[in-house]
């Protein structure tokens, strides 16, 4: 059929540019990460020819399990803290009047538009031994001259929460806005306490938002590199730091690729889990309707 062909043609014309771009510059490079893992390094910092398991074997490094474990639990704690803070915020933002809601929304989005590095740097200044917080804590007698705030795991966690929090607030707010708050009243009417009503109606009502928030915070956290690099110390290194170190300091790309492959697999697990869960929640409607 001529019209059918025309439709196929226009689909391909509209799809091809972005499809080919991402195929060549996203999918192929990502697969390359796995391939380069099995390549030897050449002495000039490039990729040699032939195949080897050398890089894969470097993963059996005594330091790595600790670093991988730290990466996962730091990301989990940061994600949990973000969701714990974002849930009451989403609830509050969905209930206030539209004018105030616009203001809060703007205030949440504004940091997102400002430079990522500047926001991390601001914390470096605050946490610095000569900085504002240290002076404040010393004045209150909560910290001594030797207490170090910067270059600690706690500092990394704090800044991770600071930078990722908007990504938890926005999906949770989006879900809360669609929530029917009369359900909470109905639950209370049936005898539930405020907390019980909140847990049994509101949380299930925004579960899609919670899942999205989890993905939006947890996955980028796993790949954190700049935050531990700037405010963390040797005891708070994450996989990202090791990848950067292999790439820029040792100039051993296959080793960096091996680590990245591990990170990629670590990212895939929660992503696939959540996506399947979400697909079950809302199966795509079939668009076979006359005149659609």
């Amino acid at each position: 059929m001529k019209g059918q062909t025309r439709r196929r043609l226009s689909e391909w014309v509209a799809t091809l540019p972005s499809f080919v771009w991402l195929l060549l510059l996203f999918l192929l490079p990502t697969l390359l990460v796995f391939a380069v893992t099995f390549r030897p390094a050449d002495p000039y910092g490039g990729i040699g020819s032939g195949w080897t398991l050398a890089s894969l074997l470097t993963l059996v490094n005594a330091h790595y399990p600790a670093i991988i474990w730290r990466t996962i639990w730091l990301s989990l704690v940061a994600t949990t803290l973000c969701i714990l803070l974002a849930t009451p915020m989403g609830y509050y933002m969905a209930r206030i009047n539209p004018a105030r809601r616009r203001l809060v929304l703007l205030l949440v989005i504004l940091p997102f538009w400002t430079s990522f590095l500047v926001r991390i740097f601001a914390w470096k200044v605050l946490l610095h031994p000569e900085g504002f917080i240290k002076h404040l804590l010393m004045f209150l007698g909560l910290a001594g001259q030797d207490t170090s705030l910067l270059y600690t795991t706690q500092a990394v966690l704090l800044v991770m929460v600071y930078t990722e929090l908007p990504f938890a607030i926005l999906p949770i707010y989006a879900a809360a806005e669609k929530f029917d708050f009369r359900l909470i009243e109905a639950a209370q009417d049936l005898g539930a306490t405020s907390l019980k009503a909140f847990v049994s109606t509101f949380l299930p009502g925004i579960r899609v938002g919670l899942m999205t928030a989890f993905l939006m915070v947890f996955i980028p956290s796993l790949g954190s590199y700049v935050i531990p690099d700037i405010v963390g110390g040797p005891t708070s290194e994450m996989i990202g730091n090791k990848i950067a170190q292999r790439t820029f300091v040792d100039r051993n790309l296959p080793n960096a690729a091996a680590l990245s492959a591990v990170l990629a697999l670590a990212v895939l697990v929660p992503m696939i889990a959540i996506l399947t869960l979400r697909r079950k929640e809302s199966p795509r409607d079939v668009l076979i309707e006359e005149g659609v």
Partner: protein
């Protein structure tokens, strides 16, 4: 009159769903032709195939003698009024109307003249520079019509153009549409699920169900002589009787059995369960012993407390009144006769206040002329549900239709049953 438009054996399916199933029909020059049916019956798909937005799997579309099946929408001399009107929101009304001529690169002076003429036709000269979101629904509709008509299409396609309007406005636009059609003399192909709209506007109607045409004819033909249970039930109200053809009439007449009735080949006796035998017009020459369904419209039935005077070809049955619904211009009765619950509509042509109305539980006689019962060529039990279903829900709830309260049914069906044109 010549044929302007022809569908030849057109089919279209989406996956396993047959949206249009081997449809052939032709529309005459200047005609107001309607495709009528519940949602999902394929009428909109057929319209979109003509406009060029959908491609048929099989069959051809002939427009003005030319095969347009493979032409893109912008090369077809048809224009569409969309259900949502689809006015361009970023253009003024003037620019909306001028769009077709501008695209065709017509001279500026001609465009201006034509647009002004159209604005005058729809009486909106003073609002030419407004944007579509600044005018009302009825005005949008008029702009959509002007925008389509300015291209002088061979056929104007209207896809449920009144569905987005409220009842009052719908009635006014109905009259306007009729006037436009008379004025411009273009062929209209009108798609609707509303039988009232189709009845009052159309020269001819094609009733569609499940992708095929159930019946094609003038509004009166379709209403008065439905060929299938679907048509009978979808358009107006009806009663179905399930019986077996028992040959021409001789002595088993429903008039008491004493008077001999002359044998008449045109009429057949019908044995119907626990009812007395009925007589009906057998123009379809259905043979003896065959099972057949009979459709009788409620307003064709007479209801009375006394037995009616006997007359040739008059069917009479006795029953008990189960429900009475007074509707102002008419009264609707539900009468229990054997296993049947028969609806009867009585016009109040001479309703007298001192007359004692027929009441619940009364014993009554129902009668109708044999010519008013129609033997159906096709019967589907599902169709009985249509009688009680609002037209906009037909097709969505075909499986399990709740038994609607008779009174609420009147809201959407009563007026159309009463205002059927006899032209």
């Amino acid at each position: 009159m010549s044929e302007i438009l022809e569908f030849v054996d057109v089919s279209k399916h989406y996956g396993a769903i047959k949206a249009v199933d081997h449809v052939s029909l032709s529309v005459k020059q200047g005609e107001f032709f309607s495709l009528l049916g519940p949602s999902g019956c394929g009428k909109t798909t057929l319209l979109r195939i003509l406009a060029g937005f959908e491609q048929p799997d099989t069959g051809r579309v002939i427009l003005g003698g030319q095969d347009v099946t493979d032409l893109p929408p912008y090369e077809r001399k048809v224009n569409t009024i969309f259900q949502s009107y689809a006015l361009f929101p970023h253009l003024s009304l003037w620019e909306n109307i001028a769009f077709g001529l501008k695209v065709a690169k017509r001279p500026k002076k001609e465009i201006k003249e034509e647009v002004d003429k159209m604005l005058a036709l729809i009486q909106m000269e003073d609002q030419a520079w407004k944007k579509p979101d600044q005018i009302s629904g009825g005005q949008k509709q008029r702009v959509a019509i002007a925008r389509a008509l300015i291209n002088k299409p061979r056929v104007l396609l209207l896809d449920e153009p009144l569905a987005a309007l409220d009842l009052k406005l719908r009635q006014r636009m109905l009259i306007e549409l009729d006037l436009f059609h008379d004025e411009v003399g273009i062929t209209f192909l009108y798609v609707t699920h509303d039988q009232g709209e189709a009845m009052s506007l159309s020269d001819r109607i094609a009733v569609m169900s499940h992708g095929s045409i159930e019946q094609l004819g003038t509004p009166a033909e379709i209403y008065e002589a439905p060929r299938t249970s679907f048509v009978a039930a979808f358009i107006g109200d009806t009663n179905f009787f399930d019986g077996i053809v028992a040959g021409p009439l001789q002595k088993h007449s429903p008039f008491g059995g004493t008077r001999p009735v002359p044998v008449d080949k045109e009429y057949s006796r019908l044995i119907i369960g626990d009812l007395p035998d009925l007589e009906c017009y057998n123009d379809k020459q259905i043979k003896e012993g065959e099972r057949i369904f009979l459709s009788v419209r409620p307003e064709k039935l007479r209801i009375s407390r006394e037995p009616p005077k006997t007359a040739p070809h008059l069917n009479v049955i006795e029953g008990t009144v189960e429900d009475v619904i007074y509707l102002g211009a008419q009264t609707k009765y539900w009468v229990k006769v054997g296993a049947y619950r028969i609806s009867v509509i009585q016009q109040h042509s001479r309703f007298l206040l001192d007359e004692i109305p027929i009441k619940w539980q009364e014993h009554v006689w129902l009668s109708w002329h044999a010519d008013d019962g129609f033997m159906l060529e096709k019967y589907d039990e599902q169709d009985e549900n249509l009688i009680l279903t609002p037209p906009e829900e037909v097709g969505e709830t075909m499986e399990d239709v709740p038994i609607a309260v008779a009174a609420s049914e009147e809201e959407y069906r009563g007026d159309s049953a009463a205002e059927v044109p006899v032209s």
